[in-house]
């Protein structure tokens, strides 16, 4: 069993950290104030390889896999979690096209995504929720050689930043009644809805997509008609959950660093508060959570890279890391005392960001349904 990162992975971490620490902080104040993602960094990120990390080289990517992607997202999240939030959804679009797209679709869309010409979007959630996929209300009715889409998608990450969206819509009934489509944003009947005003991950764009008799060519169908549930579940499970978990892991690392720094600098009773056992216990808990989550994340992504089934493991990584990030941020705020709730201190932003990762990309409860099933499988008679 090998727990150490390879020299390649260590260099990757160093490279991303250098980029993130230099390029992201100057953008963060505006991101918090305006809720806008700094699109001017998309091309520089593409030049480094961030946007195309899982895309194969023949489609303009780097093809370094999911452990590498987790390193990238964790490092970006350590500086500003809105970045991995936006990019992990971008990667979901890459994965959906890579796994289910035709050669033509891959050649048309994957290089543009890798080159940072546009952001990727996967639109599943609707006003009625995102967990009940079979209950999707957006319809796609086949008329001649076109599908006519009608409906509304909400809480869609990167909604207003992309030239095309991958949309799950209803083409029939039941589990086999869903299909996935590529919808170019300029298609008549495709409209941008409202932009959401979130309290955390503020720099990541979230909004609505509206389809009003939107005509989509049959060629834009991803996979087969009726394969939409598979497209959505595989993409969410393997790329979405791991992406959200890696985002939370980056937050957790930042929480640990902020808490440790403050505990060592803040002097009470003539000594840094890090010398107090109460603070040491808080730090021990945060440190343990960080380590646990790191192991869960990298194990799940290693399994994905080995082409092993990993839905249980990605579910565990997602639900546990996102909750741990919130718990750790809360403890870190307690270490900070009243400073922890002041806008001048990063820890309040980390708490807000961590909270947003909990419902995003699938709730803990939905993940636990799958984990529970796996846990009980050996005892099934």
């Amino acid at each position: 069993m090998e727990f150490a990162f390879t020299e390649r992975e260590e260099m990757l971490r160093k490279a991303v950290r250098e980029f993130a620490e230099a390029e992201i902080p100057p953008k963060m104040e505006a991101m918090e104030e305006t809720g806008e993602f700094p699109m001017d960094l998309l091309k520089p990120m593409a030049q480094v390889g961030i946007t195309g990390i899982i895309t194969l080289p023949e489609f303009g990517g780097v093809g370094m896999g999911y452990v590498a992607r987790t390193i990238v997202l964790e490092e970006l999240g350590r500086v500003c979690a809105a970045f991995p939030m936006a990019l992990q959804v971008h990667h979901m679009a890459c994965a959906a096209l890579n796994d289910f797209g035709t050669e033509d679709q891959k050649k048309t869309y994957l290089p543009a995504l890798a080159a940072g010409e546009t952001m990727g979007v996967v639109a599943v959630t609707e006003p009625s929720g995102g967990s009940d996929l079979v209950g999707t209300k957006t319809t796609a009715q086949l008329k001649g050689d076109k599908y006519i889409l009608n409906g509304r998608k909400c809480f869609i990450t990167n909604s207003h930043l992309s030239d095309f969206w991958i949309v799950i819509a209803k083409t029939g009934e039941g589990a086999k009644g869903l299909s996935a489509f590529i919808v170019d944003k300029d298609t008549p009947g495709a409209k941008l809805g409202r932009k959401e005003n979130k309290f955390g991950l503020r720099g990541a764009n979230t909004g609505e997509l509206v389809f009003d008799n939107c005509e989509v060519s049959k060629e834009n169908l991803i996979g087969q008609e009726g394969q939409g549930l598979t497209v959505a579940l595989k993409t969410i499970s393997e790329t979405g959950r791991t992406g959200m978990a890696a985002t939370a892991l980056g937050i957790l690392q930042a929480v640990y660093e902020e808490a440790g720094k403050f505990a060592n600098e803040r002097v009470l009773y003539g000594k840094p508060i890090s010398t107090l056992q109460a603070i040491q216990f808080f730090m021990a808990e945060i440190y343990t959570q960080l380590d646990l989550c790191r192991l869960l994340n990298y194990r799940a992504n290693w399994m994905k890279d080995q082409n092993m089934r990993c839905d249980t493991e990605t579910g565990m990584a997602k639900y546990y890391t996102c909750n741990a990030a919130v718990e750790a941020a809360k403890k870190a705020i307690e270490i900070h005392g009243s400073y922890g709730i002041m806008k001048e201190y990063a820890i309040q932003r980390l708490f807000r960001d961590a909270m947003v990762t909990v419902p995003a990309g699938g709730t803990a409860e939905v993940a636990k349904i799958g984990i529970g099933r796996a846990a009980l499988a050996p005892f099934k008679k």
């Binding site: 020299e7 260099m11 490279a15 980029f19 520089p44 480094v48 390889g49 990390i53 370094m64």
Partner: protein, 274 residues
């Protein structure tokens, strides 16, 4: 920079692995050897050397040629050197030998000069102006002297020229000088010159198959008496770790006496003017 169509020969970039400034709080001094104790401190490429490498890569993109990294360091420095290969250098030469240990800037320059001669056929040797650990800023001039070629320090610009030579902008006190130079030449650069590229992920993959040639003094044949501690004229006279403490003084007497003395001291310190 050069006339269009000019093809360059090799460009050597000297790179030095130095302790990462983020971990400088862990660096301590060895009172016996009077050297830095670097155990457990991660290394990075000396930041200014990255500006030199960026300049070399830009020259190669315009005029071809081969970018060769040159470093004198222990064998473990290979990991750090590989970062330069990931940035885009073609290959690296690592000069590593126990006899080099403890070399000062003069001895280091002798070793690097031998390395340059062994690589051969170079047009430019690029260095960072100074390293963040030693900060002597002597290597560039010493290296040029030993190679018997010109050198320019404080380079902040490499510009277009109508002739087959480099037009260099050099920062001097209170201004700039523009110089034209033929080849070969040793240049040391300041950070105003460019913005080093980030390591591209494709570069990380490509670096794994790039060659790092390890050379010892058997290959370089430098007189062992001229390198290492023995060959270094710089001798550390003493070593003092500065302690910064607040000055403390206890004032004695009655309350009135203490207040009077305190006010007097405040005036003496210049906090309040009379």
């Amino acid at each position: 920079m050069l006339q269009e169509g000019t093809i360059m020969n090799k460009i050597i970039v000297c790179v030095k692995p130095v302790p990462d400034p983020k971990h400088w709080n862990k660096v301590s001094m060895d009172p016996e050897t009077k050297t830095l104790k670097r155990e457990g401190i991660p290394n990075i490429i000396n930041p200014l050397d990255k500006y030199a490498l960026e300049a070399a890569l830009a020259l190669r993109e315009s005029h071809g040629g081969e970018v060769v990294l040159l470093s004198m360091a222990p064998p473990f420095a290979k990991t750090t050197i590989r970062e330069g290969l990931a940035m885009g250098a073609d290959r690296a030469v690592l000069l590593s030998d126990r006899v080099f240990a403890g070399s000062d800037s003069l001895a280091t320059a002798k070793i690097l000069a031998a390395g340059c001669r062994l690589i051969g056929d170079f047009d430019i040797v690029l260095c960072g102006n100074l390293s963040i650990d030693g900060s002597t800023a002597q290597i560039c001039s010493q290296l040029a002297e030993m190679l018997d070629i010109p050198n320019v320090m404080h380079v902040v610009g490499l510009e277009e020229s109508t002739e087959s030579n480099l037009v260099i902008t050099q920062k001097i006190e209170n201004g700039y000088v523009r110089l034209a130079s033929g080849f070969p030449v040793v240049l040391s650069v300041r950070k105003e010159l460019n913005k080093p590229r980030y390591i591209p992920f494709t570069g990380i993959l490509a670096a794994e198959s790039k060659e790092i040639t390890m050379l010892s003094n058997k290959d370089l044949c430098v007189d062992p008496e001229c390198v290492g501690l023995a060959g270094s004229p710089t001798k550390m006279a003493g070593l003092e770790v500065r302690k910064f403490e607040r000055k403390k003084e206890k004032l004695e007497g009655t309350v009135n006496d203490i207040v009077e003395k305190l006010v007097e001291k405040i005036y003496q310190c210049g906090v309040i003017e009379c």
